[in-house]
Each structure stands twice: as C-alpha cells, then as structure tokens.
C-alpha cells in the first residue's frame, strides 16, 4: 500500500485547503453561478457581492483603506506583468522602478522591504513588492510596508484556490497613467467603446474567476477565524524543528538563514552525494513526502546559494502542516542520508 502523502510543498501551493474553501466554491457553482456586473438580476448581483466580499477581505488583511484598489488577476505573474506596464509610463525616462520579492521563494529569507521603500521614496521612485510567498504568511499593512504596489497570490498562504491573485494599487500611484494589460468587456460603461478609466474595472476586463474568488474569500475568513498570528507562530515553530532536524543529519546542508524567525517556513537543503531530483523522487515514492526540487524558477538565487545548476530540495510548511509531517520528512531524509553514506557518497 502506498504511504499516505506528507505534503510539504506549500510554497508552490498550499494543500490541503481549509474545508470552507471548497464548500464556498461548490455553493457558488450550485446556488449563484452568474456573471457579476453583466446583468441586473439577483444572481448577477449576488455574484458581484461574492467578488466584493473577497475584495474587502484582502483589503482588510493588508490594511488597504479602499477595497477598490484591490485588483484581481489570475495569478501573481499576471499581476507582475500588469504593474510594470503601468509604471513605465508613470516615471521619468531616467528613473527606474524598484521591484523586489518580500521573501525568497527558494529559502524564505525575508528582505528589507521597508528600507528599500525609504530609498524609493527618497528618489521619488515607485516601489513594487512581490508578495507571492509572503502575503498571508507575514503580518502586512500596506501603509507600514511603504510599497506603492503589492502583488499577492490567493492559492498559497491565503489558502484559496489556484487562479486567484492580484495587485494592490497604493494611493501614491496615479491610475490615469496606468495601462491595463488587457482590454475588453467589464460590464460597466456599456455606452462607450472605450476602456473604463476607474478602479477596479479598468484592470479587470473579461469575466472574473468568481468561483475562485468565492473560495479565496472563504480562505481569508478561515484565516481570520484561526488567528493569522497564531498560525504563523505555529509555522515558525515547525520550521525551526525542520531546520534543526535536517541540520543534525550528517551530509545535509540547510541553505539560507537557518533561523525560522528571519525566514518564511520554507526550508531548502542539499545532501552530499545525492542529486536533489533523486531525493525528491525517493521522498515521494518511498516515504510519501511531496517536496519540490530543482531551481524553483530562480536560477540566480541558486547561483548565490552555490546550488546552481543542480538546485536543492525544498520542504515548505503551510497552515495545516503538522509536527508529524516534519518528523516524517526528517526521518525520511535521515534514511536517505544514511543509505548514501553506506554507499560511500555522503559525509
């Protein structure tokens, strides 16, 4: 019988999802299902309420005063492509946009976002923060963060489904200078052939992923009920156990800060004598541990870490990860290390 799955790939997407997420998506499909903003009937209006509730929940979590400044996209990539398109037109030719992740997607290291924001302000530059890994995993207030644009993703630490993400447009950004990534129907200004010039419609052409947003809203409410800080504290404790457990295995090198208070609960490691791809395969097939291996779409980060081109093995924790998950993974890596040593590879 195959072993049960110990899912430690939450940096790619969180799983399992809290039960209310799927329930909200099913409820939307079964009971609402309509297109928001396109019609005036009760189901269309209810669909618009679903979208607005998700907008309010994201705004509430991130300290955004006006929910209309939350722009929904399909994912962080979409949002990241929208923002630079816009900003290029907003800055002078000799200026540049500062774009940075809030945390490394490889080893979880937290970046000095506030300090960079101060530099951006001092030089009158706009500052874009990619919060794909951090939004939901860290306490974030848009005002304290100091960023002008913040990208978020719904299906990681916010516990929502895939296909949800977006961009927060800060008060300092003039939306008249922003160019939408896509143009088309929004349901508003039907008399006009032109793209609407107001938020959020200007940047939300096409039928939205309302079923996904219903799930995202449920995920956000579940997070609020659980208490985000309590969840984060638990994740930090588990990450510290994981770092410590892996660090004690002969031949294993944990990459990054090795300090759970200075990183997200994302732990990457290498094992002397065994290729990360083989570690990933054996963790999955022999121990039921779902890990992510390779370069994590971040070759430069791996160059910095000294793990290019083979990459590393990544174990990432989520809101529903347990101490048992950590223990299973540490034992499994320990077994692989021991076998590799016996074969004369590690140590």
């Amino acid at each position: 019988m195959p072993p049960r799955v110990t899912y430690l790939d939450n940096a790619a997407t969180s799983w399992p999802k809290p039960p209310p997420v799927a329930a909200a998506m099913k409820r939307f499909l079964d009971e609402v299902g309509a297109n928001p903003g396109r019609s005036g009937h009760r189901l269309s209006i209810e669909a618009a309420r679903v979208v607005y509730r998700a907008r309010e929940a994201v705004a509430g979590l991130l300290g955004v005063a006006d929910p209309m400044r939350v722009i929904f996209c399909a994912n962080a990539t979409h949002a990241l492509n929208l923002a630079p398109t816009a900003v290029k037109q907003a800055v002078r030719p000799e200026t540049t946009l500062i774009v940075m992740p809030q945390a490394s997607n490889v080893v979880g290291t937290l970046m000095p976002v506030r300090e960079i924001a101060e530099i951006a302000r001092a030089h009158e530059l706009l500052h874009l923060v990619d919060g794909a890994q951090s939004v939901g995993a860290l306490p974030i207030d848009m005002n304290e963060l100091g960023a002008d644009l913040l990208v978020f993703i719904g299906h990681k630490a916010l516990c929502g489904p895939t296909g949800t993400g977006g961009l927060i447009i800060g008060e300092r950004v003039d939306i008249a200078l922003l160019d939408p990534l896509m143009r088309g129907g929004t349901g508003s200004n039907s008399e006009s052939e032109l793209q609407p010039d107001f938020l959020p419609d200007k940047f939300e052409s096409g039928t939205m992923n309302v079923v996904g947003l219903a799930g995202l809203d449920a995920g956000l409410h579940w997070l609020a009920e659980q208490g985000p800080e309590a969840l984060r504290s638990r994740e930090r404790t588990l990450a510290a156990c994981l770092i410590e457990g892996l660090g004690e295995i002969l031949g294993v090198e944990v990459r990054g800060t090795r300090d759970a208070s200075r990183q997200l609960p994302v732990v990457s490691f290498t094992l002397t004598g065994l290729d990360p791809a083989e570690i990933g395969l054996r963790l999955d097939e022999e121990f039921g541990v779902a890990a992510r291996v390779g370069l994590h779409c971040s070759p430069i980060a791996h160059l910095t870490l000294g793990t290019f081109p083979t990459g590393a093995v990544q174990l990432s924790l989520g809101a529903l990860s347990t101490r048992d998950d950590v223990d299973v993974a540490v034992r499994a890596v320990g077994r692989l290390a021991e076998e590799t040593r016996r074969r004369g590879g590690a140590g």
Binding site: I45, Y52, P67
Partner: protein
C-alpha cells in the same frame, strides 16, 4: 397625464463593484436599499443602480460620499 410624486432616489454608479460597495456602506449605516437594473429611460447602461426611499435619500448620499463611493448621477423616481 400628470406624473406621480417621486418616492425613490436612484444613485447611479459606474459599475457593479461600486454598487456593491455602496450597498455595503448603506447597510452599515442602517439605510435600506435595493440594487436594481438601471431603468432604460434614464440610461442605456447595462449595469445596476442603488435605490433608496426618497426621504432617506439625502442621508444615503452623505453616507456614500463619506465612503468615497463614486456616484455618476442621481434621479428621483
């Protein structure tokens, strides 16, 4: 034929998002409202508008303005 006296005030908004935001604001301050399709006699837009009782119209307008809800027009019907 004389038209009957108005009994509702209609707040026109740019899109459904603004209508829902307006509804949320009015519910919070305890003003009953309904979201209805924009009457064709007023506009050819295909969106929805916010309808409140006429005697609550001014109070609703203040609440909507106070919450930065974009209003593109008002009509007493």
């Amino acid at each position: 034929m004389s038209r009957s006296a108005p009994s509702y005030r209609l707040y026109m908004v740019p899109s459904a998002s603004h209508a829902i935001k307006g509804e949320s604001v009015l519910i919070r301050v305890g003003i009953p409202c309904a979201l209805i399709p924009v009457p064709r006699t007023i506009s050819t837009q295909c969106g929805v508008s916010l309808r409140v009782e006429l005697d609550l119209g001014d109070r609703a307008g203040e609440a909507l303005a106070g919450a930065d809800v974009q209003i593109s027009g008002t009509h007493d019907l």
